[in-house]
Symmetry: C2
Subunit: 340 residues, 2 copies
């Protein structure tokens, strides 16, 4: 087993000092052509590669970024992650992922694990539990240590840092308006228990559109479900309410609504038009294909990584630092579950 070779080995072998080897490999002109040639040839021959850990220790830069997200199986987070990873890699950074699994404790533990030198900065979406508890001390902790932090999607006003969010309210407004404009009057909203900042924003947009369309908001037409995959409430809801349009805050609810509605004899989009959030595979491969809101996770991830790396590399001036909130524009992808 050919162990990794170090500067020391090369130095010993070539009977020069470690500093000479180091400089020669950096092509410093402190070192003569001859010596450089000799050392470089030797290094290449033995496939010398500097040890990242040593370099990290030396310049207090790991070139790693930490990503803490609630879930990695969820399509949206996955695409964001892909965006992060792609951009980060292009800039020479590696990405360490920790999944909080919507748990406050795991979020805290994960951050602590990483905050002790393993990473140069964080990109995070808050766990559901964290948003519920409204306890952000672990975030304060790291920002006070001077570790750059970028929040995306699930953010909070209580932490001063860069953020990347979707124009949730606006796009929900736009989507609802499009339902109204196609003649829908009894428009349901299927959402989650409102712990998530995003669900709230979407409901705001929904209500605003109703108001603009002169439709009175009706709590009866709002179904609040606990979790992503807890869809049993949908069937009774659809049975006991006459609706002709529907906005869901995710794909799964929307798809399930369509399937229940079809089973109940409605045709889509004529009897009921449906719009979902998240442009994942479910939307593309459902029958009918779901009109949905593309959140452009890749873009969000890329933006988050960009903001973070900028913060990391430009030693910002300590005190009166400026924080930006970038808004990613969602788009309505029209497919077969809505009219025109």
């Amino acid at each position: 087993m050919r162990r990794k070779i170090t500067l020391k080995h090369i130095a010993r072998e070539l009977e020069v000092s470690i500093s000479t080897v180091s400089k020669a490999l950096k092509n410093s002109n402190e070192i003569s052509r001859d010596t450089k040639d000799k050392i470089q040839a030797f290094a290449k021959l033995y496939n010398y590669k500097p040890n990242n850990i040593a370099i990290s220790l030396k310049n207090k830069r790991t070139k790693n970024i930490g990503v803490v997200i609630p879930d990695i199986v969820h399509h949206f987070f996955t695409t964001v992650f892909r965006g992060i990873e792609k951009y980060a890699n292009k800039r020479g950074y590696n990405v360490i992922v920790c999944v909080s699994d919507e748990s406050f404790d795991r979020e805290v533990i994960n951050m602590e694990m990483l905050a002790n030198g393993s990473i140069d900065g964080f990109i995070m979406a808050l766990a559901g539990e964290t948003q519920l508890k409204k306890d952000y001390n672990h975030l304060k902790e790291v920002t006070e240590q001077g570790i750059p932090l970028v929040l995306f999607d699930r953010v909070t006003d209580e932490i001063r840092c860069d953020k990347v969010v979707l124009n949730d309210a606006e796009i929900a407004f736009e989507a609802t308006m499009s339902l109204i404009n196609s003649g829908r009057q009894r428009i349901a909203l299927i959402t989650t228990d409102n712990f998530f900042s995003v669900s709230n924003s979407r409901e705001v947009g929904y209500r605003k559109a109703l108001k603009k369309g002169n439709i009175e908001f009706n709590e009866q037409l709002v179904l609040r479900l606990p979790y992503d995959e807890d869809i049993d409430g949908i069937e009774p809801f659809l049975k006991s309410n006459k609706i002709d349009g529907l906005l869901s805050v995710n794909e799964i609810f929307a798809i399930h609504c369509m399937s229940v509605a079809q089973r109940l004899g409605y045709t889509i989009p004529n009897d009921i038009s449906v719009i979902g959030f998240t442009d994942g595979i479910l939307s593309k491969y459902s029958t009918p294909k779901l009109t949905t809101i593309a959140q452009h996770g890749d873009k969000m991830g890329e933006m988050a990584a960009k903001l973070l790396i900028e913060k990391i590399e430009n030693d910002f001036d300590e005190e009166n630092e400026v924080f930006t909130t970038e808004i990613i524009k969602a788009t309505l992808v029209k497919r077969e579950s809505t009219i025109n």
Copy 2:
């Protein structure tokens, strides 16, 4: 900005040596109760946490594992990753993910980036391009350096290392048999261009079942598509072949087959029974719900992480090391797209 505190700071402040601080914090009984109390209290007060990088450099262990996968949006890889992350975290390891995007070059670059001290071991599924090229030098490189490697799902015989695979052939056999046993005679196979070891194995199982069922293999009934989302070939295929059963090597093909078949007037499962691979959300939320093969990605990931960490922590005896190949048993999840 409260910068991170080091042993040196504590030592200076308390007027003791660095070694004393280090030992005191480890509760060494080389140090008197009094001194320990004083140092520990101080450390706690200033929230001292040892620097991971320094520790890594010292004991040549990073407690990081590198995961290189072709795709992170794909459901199967996502679940494997979740399994890895969960287990690794439990054992105190962090996970660095790199996405090869099915590209040989990116796979090589990613491995090189990580192999210089950033990680203690690799978990990988080979990129499509790598399997095509059959060039595994980058894998040889790392194993020769003594870096433990575990391959999963997309593996190769040419590299001696631990592996975790699915019983692809067996389960494909079983699935096909179940179609045959429910009276199906003209069973199609929808697969990918056979660069992937797994597609090959599945076809083997399919053929074996046909043989056992005394059905002659018919190349006409095999559709080989280039990529996961390249599904245009399906409609002509279904139009020009009379089939009554179908096995697909992934979810997407299967779902799309169902939707095309339904559009062509077939009823599922009576006219055509369909079985897919991958028990993702598509299968659960399609209409009808897809009978599919659960690959238990979480389990594969967990097993891969377990094997890897064992290798990392038990300094294996260099030369005649033993490598194991763990087989994860897939299961057939019966839903609505097959009979009974």
